[in-house]
């Protein structure tokens, strides 16, 4: 893979997005929505109902999944549990917003008839596909990280004392820096694979949205208390996701039929 070519195309993707900021609106909206939700549940509901979270015996018991944390009150531990639960969701949900970008990536170029001049250069299929994934992922990741900073700032301002310090751990780091980007790579690569096989942006987008299903399953499973992922688990998941991304990239390359795209898409 030629990094100069890859960088050139990624830069084009980013520039194109900068000129079309509205395309990032779904990412920003989902980030803000999932920023508000945990605050509402962990802070707003107890305030409104006058019933501290720690009074709920089940919640207090389940919250032990995050560890005993003797420095925190029971309320604080439940808040930590909720904020950590939502963290994974918070970091994954913006990916669904980026789906539209990725789903449009190849078929959009074809419809605009900008793909053929690009294919006539020495650029390889792997470079095109990787650039498309990075072009959708980097701004999404940037928005997500900005959202994370805001999330932590709100935790610092609204949660009990010590919750912020407790949330700044290896697990949070693993979610933010490893699992989030790796999951984004897999999801966006999947959307781009779809994008290179259909001939209508709307179809690509509809199929791409199906990628939300595994994310939704993860959310439900977490809240059912089905599992608690440690930092080591998360690192392994991230490694598996990266391997899956590489496999998906290879499949995408194999299925990216330049000739069919040029001669059969109308």
């Amino acid at each position: 893979m030629n990094l100069h070519r890859l960088r050139a195309l990624v830069a084009k993707e980013l520039l194109d997005l900068r000129r079309n900021r509205a395309a990032l609106l779904p990412v920003a909206i989902s980030t803000l929505a999932f920023l508000a939700l945990p605050l509402f549940i962990a802070i707003g509901v107890p305030l409104a109902s006058g019933q501290p979270l720690g009074d709920d015996a089940d919640l207090a018991r389940v919250s032990l999944a995050v560890g005993v944390h003797p420095e925190l009150t029971v309320d604080g531990r439940v808040q930590l549990f909720l904020f950590e639960q939502f963290l994974l969701v918070f970091l994954l949900m913006p990916i669904t917003g980026a789906m539209a970008l990725a789903a449009h990536a190849v078929v959009g170029e074809k419809v605009a008839r900008t793909l053929e001049p690009l294919l006539a250069t020495p650029i390889t299929t792997a470079e095109i596909l990787a650039a498309k994934v990075l072009g959708a992922m980097l701004p999404t990741f940037g928005i997500t990280l900005a959202g994370l900073a805001l999330y932590l700032a709100l935790v610092a301002g609204a949660a009990d004392a010590g919750v912020l310090a407790a949330i700044l751990n290896l697990r949070t780091f693993a979610i933010a820096v490893l699992v989030g980007p790796a999951a984004a790579l897999v999801s966006l690569q999947g959307a781009i694979l779809v994008s290179s096989r259909v001939n209508d942006p709307r179809t690509a987008q509809q199929v791409g949205v199906l990628i939300i299903l595994p994310v939704a399953a993860l959310i439900v499973a977490q809240f059912m208390g089905a599992f608690w992922l440690t930092a080591a688990d998360l690192a392994l998941i991230a490694a598996a996701l990266v391997a899956l991304w590489v496999a998906l990239l290879l499949v995408s390359i194999a299925l990216f039929d330049r000739e069919a795209i040029l001669t059969r898409w109308r």
């Binding site: 050139a8 195309l9 830069a11 084009k12 194109d16 008839r113 793909l115 001049p117 001669t263």
Partner: protein, 305 residues
């Protein structure tokens, strides 16, 4: 510089390009003519390594184009696609810059600047591609195809949509590119353009129907008639002419005389006219226009005549 040998492409049951062989040398312009669906674009795409031939080979500077070396060889080709294909939200400069970097030009900015100057696009450099007129878009696309200084240029309808002044400038550019030793293949529907600038013309209709210099093509299909301009009314000379050419006709002071071989038969014809007292002002073989040749070989409705 670029040559195709027995190039064939089948799409499903449709034979799009059938056993086509020709070459374009350095410093040569070849015009590819043919009706819609004649296989011009498919031929160019095969030459650019974008579509694989079902049979035959493409050679660039003697090297056969393969799947393995297509990327490297594409760096030697400038391909102007049928549609300009510019990224609308990017400026003209940004469009060119992306390609300059993809081609790995050592000084991308300088190459972009030089290209902008060459095409007179400097004042448009900061404008978004979406704001350009059709002609300007085509010009930018052409600039993009030339950005990396390719040896071979494959140009699909390069002057389509350009106003006459710009089209003339573009044609002048092709002549400059020829003078620089580049091989230029241009697909066009503009017969006048082909005749004006092409060294050779390839008539394509799935198969290669004809390939030659424009004048040679016209001469090859000459009607086999000689036009003779005489002083006064030519009708009086008809009896003398019709002794050897019964189908000769007169129109005012012009005689149209069918001959089997203009080179062989004209001297005797002129001698007989002079003997009959004709004052001959001009004698020339009738050569059809390229358009006539095209229509005769390809047919007015795209069907082979």
């Amino acid at each position: 510089m670029i040559a195709v040998e027995h190039l064939t492409r089948v799409f499903g049951s449709r034979l799009a390009v059938d056993d086509v062989s020709f070459g374009v040398g350095g410093g040569e312009i070849v015009a590819l003519l043919g009706p819609n669906g004649a296989g011009k674009t498919t031929t160019m795409r095969m030459m650019a390594g974008l579509v694989s031939p079902t049979g035959g080979t493409v050679r660039i500077a003697g090297t056969p184009l393969t799947r393995a070396n297509a990327g490297a060889l594409r760096a030697r080709i400038g391909f102007l696609t049928e549609a300009p294909g510019l990224w609308d939200r990017l400026t003209v400069r940004e469009n060119l810059r992306v390609f300059a970097r993809i081609y790995g030009l050592p000084d991308a900015e300088r190459a972009v600047d030089e290209t902008l100057d060459r095409f007179g696009l400097r004042d448009r450099a900061g404008g978004r591609a979406a704001e350009l007129s059709k002609g300007q878009r085509q010009k930018v696309a052409l600039a993009r195809a030339l950005l990396h200084g390719p040896d071979v240029l494959l140009l699909d309808e390069p002057t389509a949509g350009l106003d006459p002044e710009v089209a003339r400038g573009v044609r002048q550019l092709f002549l400059e590119l020829r003078a620089e030793g580049r091989a230029v293949l241009l697909a066009t529907h503009n017969l006048e353009e082909a005749e004006r600038i092409a060294d050779r013309v390839a008539l394509l209709r799935g198969r290669l129907v004809a390939l030659d210099r424009p004048l040679a093509l016209r001469e090859r299909l000459a009607a086999g008639r000689v036009t003779i301009l005489v002083r006064g009314d030519a009708t009086a000379l008809l009896p003398a002419v019709r002794r050897n050419a019964p189908d000769a006709v007169a129109e005012g002071s012009v005689l149209h005389v069918p001959v089997a071989d203009a080179g062989r038969d004209t001297p005797a014809l002129v001698a007989s006219l002079v003997a009959a007292g004709a004052a001959i002002l001009e004698v020339r073989p009738e050569v059809p226009a390229l358009e006539d040749v095209y229509l005769r070989l390809i047919g007015p409705d795209g069907g082979q005549a």
